[in-house]
Symmetry: C2
Subunit: 227 residues, 2 copies
DNA sequence: ATTGGCTCTGAATAGGTGTTCACTTCTTCT
DNA sequence: AGAAGAAGTGAACACCTATTCAGAGCCAAT
């Protein structure tokens, strides 16, 4: 063998792999999963279509890895926000708010990762991703129940329903228009979070307080301006 | 002109058109929208692929009409249930329960009509269908608010979120397994309805009562047996 | 500089599905 | 019965996109 990968080459290969994933994510952010096609993604990453197949065995694998990546970041953000909260109810509110803000920040990506049908089979990774996030919410609901802040309930179903409500009202086809307006967006996030908290049994008055506490810090600065 | 459609022919044409629509609906019930393909649908309806195009200008038109049909039936059922209820809160509970029961009765159809991405552009009719149903729920929420049973709120957003919660927890990928078991199914419908009612601000205790009242009559007999 | 293997390329391939259309079959009217 | 026109047929076509692969270009070691 007269050829060995030098450090420089290893780095270039890794960079290229990452570039392809980034290109795929950008495509999804702009046009949803249906825009994640091999040729356009390859063009974005400045490689030929065939090159993609030197890094990923199939389109399904590429998309799966994309989903896993996005979901990992999302989950980390949720945990960070919830763990920083002073109590179980606040933690739940913070988690819900974090999800809502993430969803509205990249609506097409969220739609693509969560629901948009894709021709390839990514159900496995997509399901796992959803399960992870729902599981985290479930944990937070259960903690609030244990603390006596919420009535006893089927936490798994509640977490699922809660995510469904968030998705539908923030990225679904009936989501309010003009979510580009920071003020409307903030209102939508607040209202949706309030609904979600009430759904699991937080009293209305208390829920309103939790929402105000959790929404403002979670929003990017430019969105909070309208406060 | 030496040829005019006789009554008999008119009838046969109408029957054939209807058969194609029924075939499309059955295909959707069994395998979701992706199973609604021209060749299989034509085979189901006992016609050739080309014949479908003598009745519908394109696949998109066929699917649009399918969506409109299903949605019309759904809306009628919701109104019937809600109008039969004694008061605004009961009406809302009845409407929500009706939707939940319909959804679980034909999960793949519901998924296909509401969310499953399709290659053709049916966004128009799908959106209208969703808007109609959400609008009905919104009306019922607004009535309950006017009656002083619910806190003032953004009724449009609430209706949307409520539908999202129902869909996600009953037909989404994280929906509980074993919904074929009538008892589990009834529990899922009850729990989900309870969540939905609480989300819009019905007090927990009152919500539980409404759910029990509304779920049992709405369930098909075989599902209610476990009561 | 040369050699042997690795990586990249992008045109060609393959498979799947909506749509068309020349032809056949059926229906109506004289 | 025969003619004229409508309805039905299904194989062929068109389009789209994932995937492949033979050859070009690049890299490391001698």
């Amino acid at each position: 063998m007269v050829y060995r990968r030098t450090q420089q080459v290893v780095k270039r290969l890794a960079a290229r792999r990452s570039a392809i994933l980034v290109a795929a994510r950008d495509a999804a952010i702009e046009g949803g999963m249906s825009a994640v096609q091999i040729a356009p993604v390859a063009a974005r990453a400045n490689v030929a279509a065939g090159t993609v197949y030197r890094y990923f065995p199939s389109k399904a694998e590429l998309i799966s890895e994309l989903i896993v990546d996005v979901s990992r970041d999302e989950l980390a953000a949720i945990r960070r926000a919830a763990d920083a909260a002073p109590g179980p109810s606040s933690a739940l509110a913070a988690a819900v708010t974090t999800i809502a803000v993430h969803i509205v920040s990249h609506r097409k990506l969220a739609w693509g990762i969560l629901a948009e049908p894709v021709d390839v089979d990514v159900s496995e990774s997509r399901l796992a991703c959803r399960r992870d996030i729902a599981g985290e919410i479930e944990l937070r609901i259960a903690a609030a129940v244990r603390a006596g802040h919420l009535p006893a309930q089927d936490t798994a179903l509640a977490a699922t329903a809660l995510l469904g409500a968030l998705h539908e009202s923030l990225v679904g086809p009936l989501a309010p228009a003009n979510l580009d307006d920071p003020i409307k967006l903030r209102d939508a996030v607040q209202t949706t979070t309030l609904l979600a908290l009430r759904a699991v049994g937080v009293m209305d008055a208390r829920a309103r307080g939790l929402v105000v506490q959790s929404v403002l810090p979670a929003l990017p600065a430019k969105m909070a301006i309208g406060a």
